[in-house]
């Protein structure tokens, strides 16, 4: 098993594009190492991207934020500004696993592991994040909701990596929130994840919203209908009911050891409403 730690994007792309056998990108390693130990994957080549400067930086860009794909959840939490602008995204990244896992886990890895239950992905999608990919054919941008196509299925082609994510500029009176349901208080994989981002006008009416649900379908969903249900409202009870109904309708969950279909649908509705109320509260005071 080869291990390479290139220092440039081009170097990483060349290694991955030229790999003969199974190759894997290593960022935080909190999924890859577990899968290797469990014999689920046996790569011939591991490409560690953490030495590539662009994957480790958090910078302001065009009024928004560019976050490197290999920035850890703990680093996001420690960033002085990010959690004020995107509290939901930061809290989502810091719900992955434990303190120890957050010390290593990254947004890029969480997305590319391809699990619809990934904690940071609904928050990234609700934020309207766009992934910047680099591959043998050059760079391209892809909205995060278009990256994960299904369990362990990504829209990345051979040799492509995610370099960073761009979060759009934040209008005034905007905020986000992420909630997940787990049976314990920590450590579990999300049974349901709900990310909501919204913007208010001066009067407190929602003028823009994005709602994303995780762990309730084969991929993380961007639920347009749920956003439509609350845009133009002040998230009063009828709007909340519409929101819940839209969340329910979007779910196509499975029955598994973590939750039944019925349970996931019920809880998706509840969490979407609760996350929206938190985002609303944050947006009012932002």
């Amino acid at each position: 098993m080869r291990y390479e730690a290139p220092e440039s994007v081009e170097g990483a792309v060349a290694l991955l594009a030229g790999a003969k056998g199974e190759a894997r990108v290593l960022a935080g390693g909190t999924d890859l190492l577990v899968q290797m130990r469990a014999d689920v994957v046996d790569p011939e080549l591991i490409v560690d991207i953490k030495k590539i400067a662009e994957t480790r930086a958090v910078t302001e860009e065009k009024g928004g934020w560019r976050i490197g794909a290999a920035v850890t959840g703990a680093e996001l939490k420690e960033h002085p500004r990010l959690k004020q602008v995107w509290p939901g995204l930061v809290e989502a990244a810091n719900l992955i696993g434990s303190t120890q896992v957050q010390g290593r886990a990254t947004l890029g890895g969480n997305l590319c592991n391809g699990s619809p239950a990934a904690d940071s992905v609904p928050a990234l999608i609700a934020a309207g994040a766009v992934a910047t990919l680099a591959g043998p054919k050059g760079k391209r941008d892809l909205p995060v909701e278009d990256v994960m196509l299904g369990p362990r299925k990504l829209a990345l082609t051979k040799g492509e990596i995610i370099v960073s994510f761009l979060l759009p500029p934040r209008p005034a009176r905007s905020s986000d929130a992420y909630l997940r349901f787990i049976p314990r208080t920590e450590m579990d994989i999300a049974v349901v994840g709900a990310g909501v981002s919204l913007t208010l006008d001066g009067g407190g009416t929602i003028t823009a919203a994005r709602v994303s649900l995780g762990a309730v379908a084969a991929r993380v969903l961007l639920v347009q209908e749920a956003a439509q249900a609350i845009i133009g409202s002040r998230l009063d009870k009828p709007a909340q009911d519409r929101l819940e109904a839209a969340a329910r309708a979007a779910c196509r969950p499975i029955d598994d050891k973590r939750g039944t279909t019925e349970f996931r649908i019920d809880v998706a509705a509840v969490l979407t409403r609760r996350a929206a109320l938190i985002a609303l509260d944050r947006a009012r005071t932002s």
Partner: protein, 158 residues
């Protein structure tokens, strides 16, 4: 495939070792460097018994490859005491009977140390959530949490 030759710092001492790509930092610590204080409970990052501090960051050593730590600094349970002087946390754990079988204790001590280096006045809630990645099956966590908070208080007094 030739092994990787890695130079790093462990508990302040420079070390050199060879490892395969798939060897985790935990494997290297235990099997190559004979530092068996970090324990293997699950190899999937779910129990925290292998906790170490990597460049100042609390991590599970079972989730880090040995070949990733070149040029880096690793602190394990073995480096917590200074000579014969135990770290206040180690001392308090003993006085408060915050361990029974002791297998989780190194992980808890390293994790608690990382917490107290970040926050000098954690609440009970903060302590419990910070330590949620460290499993204990013997104590029910009560005496561990109390010991961490008491140590924080004692360290604040100076």
């Amino acid at each position: 495939m030739a092994k990787h030759h890695i130079e790093a710092k462990v508990n302040g001492d420079p070390v050199e070792f060879l490892c395969e790509t798939e060897d985790t930092l935990l494997d290297v610590l235990r099997d190559t460097l004979s530092l068996t204080g970090s324990k293997e409970g699950c190899s999937s990052g779910d129990c925290g018994a292998c906790s170490v501090i990597l460049d100042g960051r609390l991590v599970c050593s079972c989730l880090v490859l040995g070949c990733e730590v070149g040029g880096r600094s690793v602190e394990t349970i073995e480096g917590m005491a200074k000579g014969e002087t135990l770290h206040p946390l180690q001392k308090r754990f003993l006085e408060a009977a915050a361990l029974q079988c002791g297998i989780c204790t190194p992980g808890f001590l390293v994790a608690s140390r990382a917490l107290l280096e970040k926050t000098t006045n954690p609440t009970e809630h903060e302590v419990r959530y910070w330590l949620a990645g460290n499993l204990c099956r013997c104590t029910g966590y009560d005496k561990i949490v109390t010991a961490v908070m008491d140590t924080a208080a004692a360290m604040r007094k100076g």
